[in-house]
């Protein structure tokens, strides 16, 4: 009887060894990558070889995956490999962005070398939501004026550099104001800042953090394995519209009321039905006019978007008495070249003359033409647009009225 059990034991042992061998055989062979930047082997490509390059500025051969995403670089088991990833599928979420996208050479550099993206973005009005909070708190009597004192989270600015900058914001806690409207606002109206996950619905579909803008989900583009793996500075207006132009706040009920129209064409989709706009405002994309300072902040905390938005029609068109500001590219290290490199819709050359904003930001996708007209190439569409200065035209503008509403009086588009 004992001999039978010896045989059974031996068969069980052999079966276990064979089973272990089979399991090992069917496991994927590790595909090793040693990124130039980290010199640390990683096996992520074993499963993710089909993933497209995220951008020309972040080639996988140089960066690898782990420097941005985190994770267990040598694990071959999916759950283990992903267990320590930063921000899940989105390493640009502001809770982890410093570890993922930071470092002096990347996006935590200085204002002088214009690599302070994280500092600017995390203090921007789009991240703090300070403008909306200040408005609501003032409207319902919780604050004496429209100066921002609260943000989505506490943040301080040790170096206030602008006249509208504020030194710090406290964390907005709706319950502390003992006001039902403010509490309702907190519950219903705080999904549009860069720290927030979006509201439910395909029209609001976006990531948080940097990827809220730089990883466009609309129109939906998926890679072979179903993931979206893209970073771009060529954001189409549809991505901006996942937050903007989606509807209005009803202050009586303190709820968000989505726009009820469902347009399928750009003319009607771009702005809400109540908006007035001119042709260039909807044929261009938002990023063709609005600059990196306007979108990502100037490093200061502000109380209102009015403190940071400064592009006007005259930035490109000038006025009856002044041509728009321009700059000639005489320095190889001009930031215009760096920005054109990231989105090569134009090939800028030394000596080119381009438009420049009142704050000295280069509109690198424009060029002054020999005949005095201007050319702009759409950052997202690649379309070329030609336009003239107001000076010398038949425009009847009042020179002191340069806000867009005055231009809209004659030039707005009918829908």
């Amino acid at each position: 009887m004992k001999s039978i059990w010896l045989v059974v034991g031996a068969i069980v042992l052999l079966s276990a060894v064979i089973a272990a061998g089979i399991v090992e055989t069917v496991k994927p062979r590790p595909v090793e990558l040693i990124p130039t930047l980290t010199q640390q082997p990683e096996y992520c490509l074993t499963c993710h070889a089909e993933l497209e390059e995220i951008s020309a500025a972040h080639p996988v051969k140089t960066f690898g995956c782990v420097v941005c995403h985190g994770g267990e670089r040598l694990a071959l088991d999916g759950d283990l490999a992903h267990s320590t990833m930063r921000g899940g599928a989105n390493p640009s979420d502001f809770s982890v962005v410093e570890q993922s996208c930071g470092s002096e050479q990347c996006h935590s550099g200085s204002a002088q070398d214009r690599r302070d993206h994280i500092q600017r973005a995390t203090t921007s009005i789009q991240a703090t939501y300070a403008g909306a909070l200040a408005n609501i708190l003032y409207t319902f009597g919780a604050e004496p004026d429209l100066t921002a004192r609260y943000g989505i989270s506490e943040v301080k600015d040790a170096q206030v550099q602008t006249v509208t900058g504020v030194p710090g914001l406290l964390t907005f806690e709706a319950a502390s104001f003992n006001n039902p409207f403010i509490e309702q606002f907190s519950q219903n109206c705080t999904t549009c800042h860069l720290n927030a996950m979006p509201a439910a619905g395909e029209e609001y579909d976006r990531f948080s953090g940097c990827s809220a803008c730089h990883t466009p989900l609309k129109p939906r583009e998926t890679t072979a394995d179903g993931n979206i793996h893209r970073l771009t500075t060529a954001m189409p207006y549809t991505q901006c519209n996942t937050c903007h132009n989606r509807g209005n706040y009803d202050l009586r009920t303190m709820t968000f009321v989505p726009r009820s129209d469902h347009p399928t064409d750009r003319l009607r989709d771009y702005y809400q039905p109540i908006a007035q706009f001119v042709k260039c405002e909807y044929t261009l994309d938002c990023v063709d006019c609005h600059t990196r300072i306007e979108a990502m902040g100037d490093g200061d905390l502000h109380s209102s978007k009015k403190d940071i938005q400064y592009i006007q029609c005259k930035t490109c068109h000038g006025t009856l008495t002044e041509l728009p500001r321009t700059t000639r590219l005489n320095d190889e290290n001009d930031i215009a070249f760096r920005m054109a490199q990231l989105n090569p819709v134009v090939e800028l050359k030394l000596g080119d003359e381009i438009l420049m904003t009142a704050k000295g930001e280069p509109l690198w996708n424009t060029r002054v033409q020999p005949d005095g007209t201007f050319e702009l190439v759409g950052k997202a569409t690649g379309q070329t647009f030609r336009f003239r200065p107001v000076m010398g035209s038949g425009c009847k503008q009042n020179i002191d009225q340069q806000a867009s509403q005055y231009c809209h009086e004659c030039h707005s588009v009918e829908r």
Partner: protein, 140 residues
């Protein structure tokens, strides 16, 4: 010839099966023990016979990556790894350009446009006793 007893037969079977399991297990263990997860990248590149490089010629070797030049004075090797973040630079009309962040270098490797701030390094070269050109990734 005497027939083995049932007990002896079972013992023999158990021995063979356990032995086979031991052999397979031992093979697996040997594979496990010999696995090298971090082989590291080569720092030394044998580019074959030095005579294959004509005098006054240049050749890009992508696996280093570097551009190898030979003149009457001998060999020089310049790294083609951008000193900003390490992307491989490409030859352009006036030198080298980095496709990642736009750094530019002249034909001698000096930075002409940032964000890179350091020149492309020149790598150490030697001709081996067997006449092969060897390029080392450390700087010359």
């Amino acid at each position: 010839m005497q027939q083995p007893s049932r007990r002896d037969f079972l013992k023999l079977m158990a021995t063979y099966i356990a032995g086979l399991a031991g052999l397979l297990g031992g093979y697996g263990m040997a594979r496990f023990m010999s696995f090298q997860s971090e082989q590291g990248q080569s720092t030394e590149f044998d580019l074959g016979p030095a005579d294959a490089f004509a005098v006054n010629s240049k050749k890009v070797v992508t696996e280093i990556p570097a551009i190898i030049a030979r003149d009457a004075g001998g060999f020089t090797a310049m790294s083609l790894q951008c000193t900003h973040l390490g992307c491989t630079v490409e030859e352009s009309a006036d030198g080298f350009a980095c496709p990642c962040h736009g750094s530019r270098y002249d034909s001698t490797g000096v930075v002409t446009r940032g964000p890179a701030t350091r020149a492309l390094p020149h790598l150490r070269t030697e001709v081996s006793a067997g006449g092969h050109l060897i390029v080392h990734k450390d700087e010359a």
